[in-house]
């Protein structure tokens, strides 16, 4: 019993010490009071650092198409998972869950990027299907 308690305490202590991913620049750029969900067609992915950009066309409630820029992670992560400029799933429909930019432009953070059926856009090692 004592061993179990010690092991658990050790785990908790290490978990607390592990970095929680505080990304201060995101808090400076994006507004916690403006969560947003967007559904649209992926038109372009810019594989640039320090953040890649996913561009989507969203059809608004008035029927007009708006272009949105979604800030995501470093493309070097994609390269290491076998995804590169030749395998980008342009043309597919995606859902973005994130936060709006403070500067009022059509920009948001790409907190979660999923297919309409809920699957994550990118999972360990797997590439998304080609556009239909």
């Amino acid at each position: 019993m004592r061993t179990i308690i010690l092991v658990l305490a050790a785990q908790i202590a290490l978990l607390i010490a592990a970095p929680l991913g505080a990304h201060h620049s995101f808090l400076a750029e994006f507004d916690p009071d403006q969560p947003i969900q967007l559904r649209g067609t992926l038109t372009k992915i810019e594989l640039i650092n320090p953040h890649s950009w996913f561009h989507i066309d969203v059809v608004g409630s008035n029927g007009e198409v708006e272009s949105w820029a979604i800030e995501a992670g470093t493309p070097n992560t994609l390269f290491r998972k076998g995804i590169n400029k030749n395998t980008l799933p342009v043309g597919i429909e995606i859902i973005v869950d994130g936060y709006r930019a403070k500067n009022g432009t059509n920009t948001a953070s790409g907190r979660d990027i999923t297919f309409p059926d809920g699957r994550q856009l990118y999972l360990e090692g797997s590439a998304p299907p080609a556009p239909e």
Partner: protein
Amino acid sequence: MSKGKLHGYCVYFIIAMFGAIGTVWSQAPPSFDANYEPPRTPSGQPDLQGVWSNAILTPFERPEEFGDQAFLTEEQANAYQEQRRQQTFRGDRTVDVETDVSHAYNDFWWDWGTELARTRRTSLIIDPPDGRLPALTPQAQRRREARIARRAEHPADGPEDRLLRERCIIWDGNNDSGGGPPMMPSAYNNNFQIVQTEDYVLLLKEMVHETRVVPLDGRPHLHDSVRQWLGSSRGRWEGDTLVIETKNFTDKTYYQGASEHMQLTERFTRVADDVLLYEFTVNDPQAFMRPWTAQIPTVKLDGMIYEFACHETNRGMVGLLSGARAEEAAAREAAGN
């Protein structure tokens, strides 16, 4: 086995062990083979070349709960690793909104590492023995407080108010650790590459394509009046360990609170085919009450360094500054009504 032969083996063993002293072997962690012989370059130096990852789950400082416990048991280490591997940060909205925003994006993009240090240490800091940073001197403490105060008052007047990694000058780890060298992991792309020739060692850290070409010919450091972001590095071999001494830092970096007088000693020893033990000592009496040392067993990456062009496409800085200006404008408008 005859008594004579056994005696012979014993002598051989003792000689091999003593032969290894004078390098880092005298403090070799239990998980590495003390008799490991690294491959060698044509000029006879240990071959440290390749791409190495310093992504690691071990925390920088030992959590206070551990007290004097410097090493985890194998059972504790396995349990912790398993738990961390299963931990994801997707769709988890139980954290507060600010944490959620600042976590930026889901686990796919992060690389915190999947392993604790193979040494099973409870912290990267190995000296002082409590595994924690020594106290800052009063002047270093004042510097830190002034920096924090300034940042609170001027969070985003201009780029110089932001972190070195937001400016794409030096990627200073995940927290505000103040820049390097030393080469510390952050949230992703935790890789550096070593290329060796007889007279130089090239260190290429992926973020931000940070390159040091270190001479091994015993020349002096740059003149004291010349200060550089990455300092002035000079290398030498001590047995099978590459030792790099760096000084001539500016006051624009502040690694864990260090001053421009920091003297950094880095040690690289290949302790297994896939492990390069990276150890560094910070010596800065103007900033720390005593020197301190950290150690990361970096792991060989089967892959390459990719270009991390940061400043060229730093849209985040534009977003950050324009966001601050928009907030100020909105506040002025609200006040005016």
